[in-house]
Symmetry: C3
Subunit: 316 residues, 3 copies
């Protein structure tokens, strides 16, 4: 055995020795970690039903997409014969998953805020069925979104490309599902869904926002559409557009909860990238065009174009 | 049995009863979901080959990365002896995966648009081989991108850190792979790849854009590089930069498809965060610097600095 | 056999024939791919320990989150009795995972840069224990971040909703873990962690930045907080805010490495969406408000409001 190998082995022994030394301190540290939970400076989630995990959210969204765009996200080849069985099976599986997660979401809310019992089990099944009954309407809206996206984007090669790969359509699919869940009174689940879409696409649409037909989001990264925003038909927005709330006095959260704080965008408006429109009383009139990077906190009449000053050029 | 428990059990029975009630409505609803597919308001994807799923795209990108940066993304320790076998095996596996997905992409396109048969099977193998033959060139370009990133970023501790963790390098790796696939005539697959990178990094580079050597994207969230953009050598861009198209008249998608709609950025240009440069005839001349948040729709001569007006200060 | 079927089968044979033809060229191509590695135009990673994979990073973050917010991200229902065992087990598992990945990170650095041996095995255990000892402090800071987020956001329905779904809180959780690892001298691992959070949320916080208590990031997509940024207490920032470095002369990476290049934000400052603040000597004085899309490279005194010029309206 040469001295290098020997020294390495000794190192290893030292390593094991001190490993023991540090590991022996673990139980006491674990006790501290447990005890510290009770001191009011740690959020604890005990005695509540587990809420939907990210993996079950992804599962629900994937299955819903398969039903909304049949055959597009399937790993097997569909034909007119097996389509019926495929969709039937997908619908049943989605029903069971949705019923369970809706029940958990309602139950979580009831326990947490001491709400009156709503018979979560039954509610879960009722709402899951209502969601499936909404499929034709959701398909109509999403198909119109796909067509509007195709018509306005010269880079799109086909409707298929848009359905397969456009983040705007993914975010709008999740929004339209989450918005319907929200309308049906399901707590917390819609918001977790929309934050999943936000993470995947950089597009942040609050499930309570109201959005009309033929909506287009191009590129999309950085888009924010706040809780009380109202958007009409045939509206097109680009990456980095914020439809947000005006600045609030400190600790205003409670006071403004539920009030209209985000703008109204009327039909046929286009908002270019990086524009910011703020305030619950701000209305962008029909057919107006808001230029890129514009910052707006006041109402704009219909048929108006709003742009920034030109930048300054310096020749070196 | 106390009354609370009893009431809970009764609740459960009610629950089960109504669960049955709702579940019994499922078959009729599933029929509606199937029948509705035929009414023209639903995008259907039947009788076509399944196109690449997200998981196979991720698989291809991961294996390609392992070959482009050998040893960096391997779970086993490589040494000069096993490197040969490791890379040989990785290249063979990548070839098979690529050949299959390229074939599917071409076949999907042929069926969908009634194109002439291109012998997809053979095409898949020919293009997959061409992709592997491009490895040395792709490595040279990406190594140059890594070195340019390191030279310009004081926060970078090492080339390794950049390869392991920088989103710009990930997006550029996927772009350079997808761009080569696009040059070789593969439909749809390149766009799905680039939208995966967009989702992971917030950087949206169309695979058809043309980008020179020593390209740097710092931070990157919100970057958009459109389909017909041309970027020279030694260009550096920051987060939120858009190289986009000018506003189009409504329904202009078809008319402008394939035309140059995005800007040309000449050598040695720097574009700071949030800047937007639009239009197919807009050229940013060599060595120019575009300041942050600048909005440009006109050509800028070489050696020019373009900045925004200073903001207004209000003392409260 | 009709002629169509026959022709298809012949096609298949051709297919197989050429498949063979292309596959036979693979070994020579694989050799090129291996040989090319040695020519200096390819980054190679041989003879080094594998560094943390994305999956082990995600595993560590998930387990850490479960300990920082007990019960929130658990798939089982916790109660006061099983909480103790649950957390104890989670802490032990996290210790082992952390110790291993910290050891790998240190060893990688030592080999790569010929640093003096630091007994990686022992260091891994020492630092992993120090991380667990930091849990109460990390919980205190994150709980304060959650409360500050709730107080300022009328769209937030509950603290739970924020913990479950807000990307700002996820990014801050990862930042506070990575920052502590960074303080304890762990190389590369903190940066890989923060880039994972960046990918999930669009929020890019360098682990070396210094951030005070009650920090709020709303929406968050596009936020960049550079390496040497200093942020005080009760600061609130919105999506698209950059706290960055001034432009550097070319190849300045080496020269500026380690120097303060990013701004200082004092207590109680609010920075609205899309604002950019640059430079190591730039200080935003306490209680100042920086308006949306503002571009700042100079110090702002305390109690100041900085806003952009109003945009120009054109009536069509």
């Amino acid at each position: 055995m040469d001295s290098a190998t020997q020294s390495k082995q000794e190192n290893c022994k030292t390593g094991t020795g001190s490993r023991q030394h540090y590991r022996e301190q673990l139980p006491a540290l674990a006790d501290t970690i447990v005890d510290h939970c009770g001191d009011g400076e740690c959020f604890l989630h005990v005695d509540y039903e587990p809420i939907p995990s990210r993996s079950s959210i992804i599962d629900i969204i994937d299955r819903f997409r398969e039903i909304l765009f049949p055959g597009y996200f399937s790993s097997e080849k569909l034909d007119p014969v097996n389509l019926k069985y495929h969709l039937g099976k997908a619908a049943t599986a989605l029903f069971d998953l949705l019923a369970e997660q809706i029940r958990n979401s309602i139950r979580h809310d009831c326990y947490r805020y001491n709400r009156e019992c709503r018979d979560c089990e039954q509610e879960g099944h009722r709402v899951a069925l209502a969601m499936l009954a909404s499929v034709p309407q959701l398909r109509r809206m999403l198909s119109a979104d796909v067509r509007a996206t195709f018509e306005g984007d010269p880079a799109a090669k086909s409707h298929d490309e848009i359905i397969f790969s456009y983040p705007g359509i993914f975010a709008q699919t999740v929004y339209r599902i989450a918005h319907r869940l929200s309308e049906l009174g399901v707590p917390i689940l819609p918001r977790i869904m929309s934050e999943h879409a936000h993470s995947e696409t950089g597009i942040d649409i609050h499930p309570s926002a109201s959005i009309g037909n033929n909506f287009v989001i191009d590129h999309g990264t950085g888009v924010v559409i706040g809780e009380t925003t109202i958007i009409g038909n045939n509206v097109r927005i680009y990456q980095g557009v914020t439809l947000g709330a005006l600045s609030l006095p400190p600790h205003a959260g409670e006071q403004y909860r539920g009030k209209k704080r985000h703008p109204t965008i009327e039909d046929d408006v286009i908002i270019y990238s990086g524009a910011t429109i703020l305030g619950g009383e701000t209305v962008i009139g029909a057919r107006s065009v808001i230029g890129g990077n514009v910052w707006l906190t006041e109402t704009v009449p219909p048929d108006t174009k709003v742009i920034m000053e030109s930048p300054r050029l310096i020749y070196r």
